[in-house]
């Protein structure tokens, strides 16, 4: 092993045991958690400008803080905020979870009986992963509720359950990925369904506001949260929602979530899959992969940025590296290049584009393969290389640009992942993260690139629940702690 390798490996440490994690030292864990971070030397550069979603979120937050005051009960502002979570979504949703009902049930708070507990945390069971761009929320809906239990269930708990399970969209931005729902899951002795919900991080203040209005704090549940936002919004949860977050290490959660979901499977199907014949467009097909003996594996989490972890066992893993060129970069560049405003839009455009008009390929330079280096003619020599020419800039479509952006980011992640796999001597690479959502192009390209450049030595694996593992891990921490 190289000296670098030795040194890096020495960083690996077993996970802290059980309950200790509540107060787990944040230093090491948090540093690893800055998985995607990449260097810049300018320090103290003030964040300027306004208008981005981020700023929007901050701005929206400010008046509430000022208006409501830190200690006062937050004011209701739903009318002013059309994009609110519990705003005019589906009719059923708003009817079921109106703030009035929630407030009305407020009197019943704190009357729950011990019979529910049985060494389990109180319902509702949530796991929250607050990323840079998206918030991932998993919710366990108990299906084995007895009549007695139903009677005892406090009003606002019931409201939450009904609101979440009877809707597929919340406000204009919250979405439940119904197709990912895990049915008949047994968790802590309870049977139920696991729901997967996501919404943009810039709507976090609205979410907290809603929690506050539904008197979530009165449920005396612990809200387990991971991701950078667990820190960023901790104070808001406390002041606006009267909620104490339990902050969890995001890498711990990620791995825990992956291992758990893979072990329970996807409603009888395999959670993990791969692409057979990734280099052959005709024969390429998605096939289940048995991840029963997963170690060692390289886990590549592609969110806004990318983290790469080498996992040697459930408790022994190490952050290898990260790159700032991730899903956020794809989406951000697409917005700038094409004027699109949603990830879906960007993906849709990409799927209709031709990146070879934008990129300079090996064959554009050498007329064919560059045999001396074993480079095939189709390989990209320079991403966006054709855009150096004015004429070519004028002849490409937005779709071409979106596709090229997608290919550039994907190839780069593949390349870094491949190098890490080689350096770590690991040949299974599992790609997760919301960048891969509705993104077969990237998945197949990753599969292809890993297979091609490693001459079949490396295998790219994917998981159905793409970006939800951190949130699942957070939920599992909640249950473990009980």
């Amino acid at each position: 092993m190289t000296p670098i390798g030795r040194r890096l490996r020495s960083f690996s440490r077993p996970l802290p045991e059980g309950r200790g994690r509540r107060s787990a030292p944040l230093g090491a864990g948090a540093l690893r958690a800055v998985a995607a971070a990449v260097a810049v030397e300018e320090r103290g550069a003030a964040q300027r400008g306004a208008g981005g979603p981020w700023d929007r979120a901050v701005r929206r937050m400010e008046p509430r803080r000022n208006g409501g005051g830190a200690d006062e009960k937050p004011r209701r502002r739903e009318a002013e905020n059309p994009r609110r979570w519990n705003g005019s979504g589906t009719g059923a949703g708003s009817a079921a979870a109106g703030p009035e009902q929630c407030e009305g049930g407020g009197a019943a708070c704190g009357l729950r009986r011990d019979s529910v507990r049985k060494n389990r945390p109180l319902f509702p069971w949530f796991g929250l992963d607050i990323g840079g761009t998206l918030v991932k929320l998993v919710y366990f809906e108990p299906k084995d509720i007895t009549a007695e239990e139903e009677d005892e269930e406090v009003e606002n708990l019931k409201n939450i359950r009904k609101y979440l399970t009877s809707n597929v969209a919340y406000g204009s931005t919250g979405i439940r990925d119904v197709h990912l729902e895990l049915k008949d899951l047994t968790l802590c002795g309870r049977k139920g369904n696991l729901h997967f919900i996501r919404f943009p991080t810039h709507d976090m203040p609205a979410f907290i506001q809603m929690g506050s209005e539904k008197h979530f704090s009165s449920l005396h549940t612990t809200l387990c949260a991971t991701g950078g936002g667990a820190y960023k919004f901790e104070q808001d949860f406390l002041t606006m929602g009267d909620l104490q977050l339990r902050k969890l290490d995001e890498l711990d959660c990620l791995i825990k979530g992956v291992l758990y979901i893979d072990s329970v499977g996807f409603n009888g199907h395999s959670e993990c899959y791969y692409f057979e014949h990734p280099t052959d467009t005709e024969r390429c097909q998605k096939l289940p992969f048995n991840l029963e003996n997963p170690y060692p594996l390289l886990l590549v989490n592609i969110g806004s940025g990318v983290s790469i972890l080498a996992v040697y066992s459930k408790e022994n893993y190490r952050w290898v590296t990260g790159t700032s060129l991730g899903g956020g970069t794809f989406f951000g560049l697409c917005c700038l290049l094409t004027g699109c405003s949603t990830f879906e839009e960007a993906m849709e455009m990409a799927s209709h584009g031709d990146s070879t008009k934008v990129d300079k390929l090996v064959r554009d330079i050498y007329g064919g393969d560059y045999e001396r280096f074993g480079l095939p003619g189709w390989a990209v020599a320079s991403s966006f290389g054709n855009m150096m020419s004015k004429e070519k800039r004028e002849s490409v479509s937005k779709e071409d640009l979106a596709k090229a952006t997608l290919i550039t980011i994907t190839n780069n992640i593949g390349s870094i992942a491949r190098m890490c796999a080689l350096n770590e001597n690991i040949n299974r690479v599992v790609f997760v993260g919301n960048f891969l959502r509705i993104n077969t192009i990237s998945m197949r390209l990753l599969a292809y690139a890993l297979d091609y450049w490693s001459k079949g030595q490396l295998k790219a694996l994917f998981l159905e629940h793409e970006g939800y593992f951190g949130a699942v891990g957070a939920l599992l921490e909640l249950l473990d702690s009980a």
Partner: protein, 821 residues
């Protein structure tokens, strides 16, 4: 019509028929100001085309680099010994001086914008004579595009060479030949450029070439290299994507934008994700979590500058990360970066360096090359010149003919000094002998000859630049006077003065232009400039006269020494050596005295010397040592002509010989100031031998050997002692009594005995090295550690330096060192 050269050259007569489209050109600027384009006739750029051959061209996306090999006729000073047998020697000079033509090889490299290619080819065609060249080697992406044009214009067949092979060949060539080629870039340091000492072993290394894409190549030896990877995110991505995002078309303009932008407006930082918790968590909140992560919206405008900066960070970081991953996989710790993306751009070098430090945690070093832009052209040239075996020679940068590294200070760069329309030149002269290390160096890999790094030491830099400026008029005058028979000598002397003046001004602004700035490099640059204008030896006449005078005193000096007791004699010898060293025309304090007091002699010099205890005084230890067994062999590096060599060094040598110590006396091969040259030393030795039986028998028995250092510098780099030619002294002069004293055609009393200094030093079991003079023992080698005993002595003839060392002018350095066992 102008072409603009970003050298400090002054224009030499306008009006040459050179038609060239003027693009964004500016007129000629006045002298004194830097960073301007100066109108220059093209024959100042494409120099020595008359004998040019072995053309090579590297055409990149925007810049063309042309290379050729040519021969330069140099004037060299020769001294000719008379046959004095039976003649009255009283009224004749000791020897004759003449100036001869010598032909040396030179490599020319010129870099210019692709737009000029046609005009440049025309010019070359018109001025190309005497060439048997049929083929031009071509490399680079543009070689294909311009193939027909080149073939048509030059009538040469274009022979294409692989880009990467050329790059590597060029890189190896530079790493081997040019000291201070490599530098690390440090943004926050006083010296942005941290030049690296050439390591004897340059392999293995990683070359990351960032063109439109990125190629990562592992180089293991001269001929063995492997493409181990690459990335499509490179300079083309910056340019292409940057053009789309900012509507800015030019690469340099994009960089200019980037240097003014705030990437934090566009990038999602860790602190954006973690909020204010970063500090309490000990996280570095300024790290980028997601490049362009804040631009995920359609309803916000981002500034061009911010986007360009973000893009630059994204690409630089990515390249740095991949380079580190490859370096780790292949266990390499040196990464050289090249390609148009770098091209000396400070903002790029900064981000790449930061990225490498970050991802490797400081274990890998990002290194850049001063002549990075020429790698391909050098490589292509070498491919075409294999018959001439350029690799078997050593080549040195000609400071007079090279542009040097451009300014990178943000206010000057890059817009003020537009790259477009500028020509950049790089010339290398062939050194006739291979370079080797003196085997007596304790650790050649850490040996740094120069005592003060003037790039680092701003105060010293200011002083020395002024010092050289002030001495310049005198040097120019001396140069003109050295060639009284030449009509154009005053004109050439003025050109020399102007050129060196401009070099000094360049160095004031850009001390890093030619690598680490040192007193040695300032002296060497002056020698190069003097040679450029055919003043091979401005002090030849002074030296001739002083040698003659000193020789006349030799016998009386010896007699008075012999009359002393042993201990007094040892002190007198050392004092004589030091007094001799006062006679240094390179020191202004001395030259002023010598100019106006022609009678200033040996005794006067002795009286100027500082009394003991000296500024650095280990004389007592030396005396103790002399009481012990004699040294086996002493290697002496001599300094000045005249009194220094004849009345200082030779008596000292004579004493050593008498003790039974063999002596190797090393003198410069070529002239520098009034330093004694090898050929002069031969004549002097011959004449002393005629007077002194000790010297005579020592020469006969080869106990005294005269060698040349291969250098023409007033300083001494012990790593680069050339192959030396040792002449054997014959008892009886041969028939050809009047023969030129040159290396190949030597004087009558010596016959050739070829041997490298390194071999000689080992053979004779050299156990004492004596280095004499300010240039060799103070400006250089003051801290040099040797494997054997050493004696460094000099008189400080410069009040500033004396002051710095804590003494006064004419303070004495007597540093006797014994290596710790």
């Amino acid at each position: 019509m102008h072409i603009h050269l970003h050298t400090d050259e002054a224009g030499r007569g306008a009006g040459l028929a050179f038609k060239m489209a003027e693009r964004g050109g500016r007129g000629s600027g006045g002298h004194g100001s830097l960073d301007k384009s100066i109108t220059l006739p093209p024959d100042e750029i494409f120099r020595n085309l008359e004998n040019a051959k072995r053309f090579a061209i590297d055409i990149g996306g925007s810049l063309t680099k042309l290379a050729y090999y040519s021969t330069v006729q140099h004037k060299v000073a020769r001294v000719r010994s008379f046959d004095h047998s039976g003649k009255d020697i009283e009224n004749e000079p000791l020897y004759e001086i003449s100036v001869q033509e010598e032909i040396t090889a030179r490599l020319h490299f010129i870099k210019f914008e692709n737009n000029y290619i046609e005009t440049c080819l025309d010019f070359i065609k018109d001025h190309l004579v005497n060439t048997e060249t049929q083929v031009i080697k071509a490399t680079g992406g543009g070689a294909y595009k311009f193939k027909d044009l080149i073939e048509k214009k030059l009538g040469l067949k274009v022979d294409k060479e692989d880009v990467m092979t050329c790059l590597i060949k060029g890189c190896n060539f530079l790493l081997r030949n040019i000291p201070h080629e490599v530098f690390a870039y440090q943004k926050d340091s006083d010296t942005e450029f941290r030049f690296q000492t050439n390591h004897p072993n340059i392999f293995p290394y990683l070359l990351v070439n960032i063109g439109s894409g990125v190629s990562i190549v592992k180089v293991e030896s001269e001929d063995k290299f492997e493409w181990i990877g690459g990335s499509s995110i490179g300079g083309g991505t910056f340019w292409g994507l940057g053009a789309l995002l900012t509507k800015t078309k030019k690469f340099d303009e994009l960089l200019q934008l980037a240097s003014k932008g705030q990437h934090t407006n566009v990038d999602m930082l860790v602190k954006d994700v973690y909020g204010g918790a970063c500090q309490t968590l000990g996280l570095s909140g300024n790290l980028i979590a997601s490049s362009f992560g804040k631009s995920t919206t359609a309803d916000k405008e981002f500034s061009k500058e911010d986007m360009a900066k973000s893009l630059l960070h994204m690409i630089s970081n990515d390249i740095g990360q991949l380079a580190c991953l490859y370096a780790k996989l292949h266990n390499l710790d040196k990464i050289y970066f090249g390609g148009f993306f770098i091209r000396g751009h400070p903002v790029t070098m900064r981000t790449i360096t930061f990225s490498i430090n970050f991802f490797s945690k400081g274990e890998v070093q990002a290194l850049f090359l001063r002549h990075e832009g020429y790698l391909g052209a050098i490589g292509a040239f070498l491919k075409g010149a294999e018959q001439d075996n350029p690799n078997q020679y050593s080549w040195g940068e000609n400071y007079a003919g090279s542009s040097g590294l451009m300014s990178t200070s943000p206010d000057v760069y890059p817009m003020q000094r537009t790259r477009s329309g500028t020509f950049d030149m790089f010339e290398m002269d062939r050194l006739e002998r291979p370079l080797v290390n003196l085997p007596l160096l304790k650790d050649p890999s850490t040996y740094i000859p120069d005592t003060v790094d003037l790039t680092d030491d701003a105060m010293a830099r200011k002083y020395w630049l002024t010092c050289f400026e002030e001495a310049l008029d005198g040097v120019a005058k001396r140069a003109a006077a050295s060639q009284p028979d030449s009509v154009d000598a005053p004109e050439r002397a003025e050109k020399f003065r102007q050129k060196y003046w401009n070099k000094l001004q360049t160095l004031r602004q850009q001390p890093f232009a030619y690598g680490t700035l040192t007193v040695r490099s300032l002296l060497d640059t002056r020698e190069h400039c003097l040679n450029e204008f055919n003043f091979p030896d401005p002090y030849s006449k002074v030296k001739q006269k002083e040698n003659g005078i000193a020789l006349k005193c030799f016998q009386s000096v010896i007699e008075s020494l012999d009359s002393l007791g042993w201990e007094e004699r040892q002190f007198a010898l050392v004092k004589g050596l030091l007094a001799g060293n006062v006679f240094d025309w390179g020191a202004k304090a001395v030259s002023d005295v010598l100019e106006c007091e022609p009678q200033f002699g040996f005794e006067e010099a002795k009286s100027k010397l500082q009394e003991r205890p000296w500024l650095e005084d280990s004389y007592s230890q030396w005396l103790e040592r002399l009481k012990g067994p004699p040294h086996k062999c002493a290697l002496i590096f001599a300094d000045n002509s005249g009194i220094d060599i004849i009345l200082g060094v030779f008596p000292f040598v004579r004493e050593l010989l008498s003790r039974g110590t063999e002596v190797i006396l090393a003198c410069n091969s070529g002239p520098a100031l009034n330093d004694v040259t090898y050929s002069e030393s031969l004549i002097v030795a011959e004449r002393i031998a005629a007077m002194d039986p000790v010297i005579q028998s020592a020469l006969k028995e080869e106990k005294l050997l005269l060698v040349q250092t291969g250098s023409s510098s007033p300083c001494l780099d012990l790593r680069y002692n050339d192959f030396v030619c040792v002449l054997k002294y014959l008892s009886h002069p041969s028939q050809k009594c009047l023969s030129w004293m040159t290396i190949s055609n030597h004087t009558s009393r010596f016959s050739r005995l070829d041997k490298g200094l390194a071999v000689l030093v080992r053979e004779r079991k050299t156990d004492l090295v004596i280095i004499e003079g300010m240039g060799r023992a103070i400006h250089t080698n003051y801290y040099a550690a040797l494997k054997c005993e050493s004696l460094k002595l000099a008189v400080i003839k410069n009040s500033w330096l004396a002051d710095r060392l804590g003494g006064k002018i004419f303070s004495v350095i007597f540093k006797y060192e014994v290596p710790c066992k």
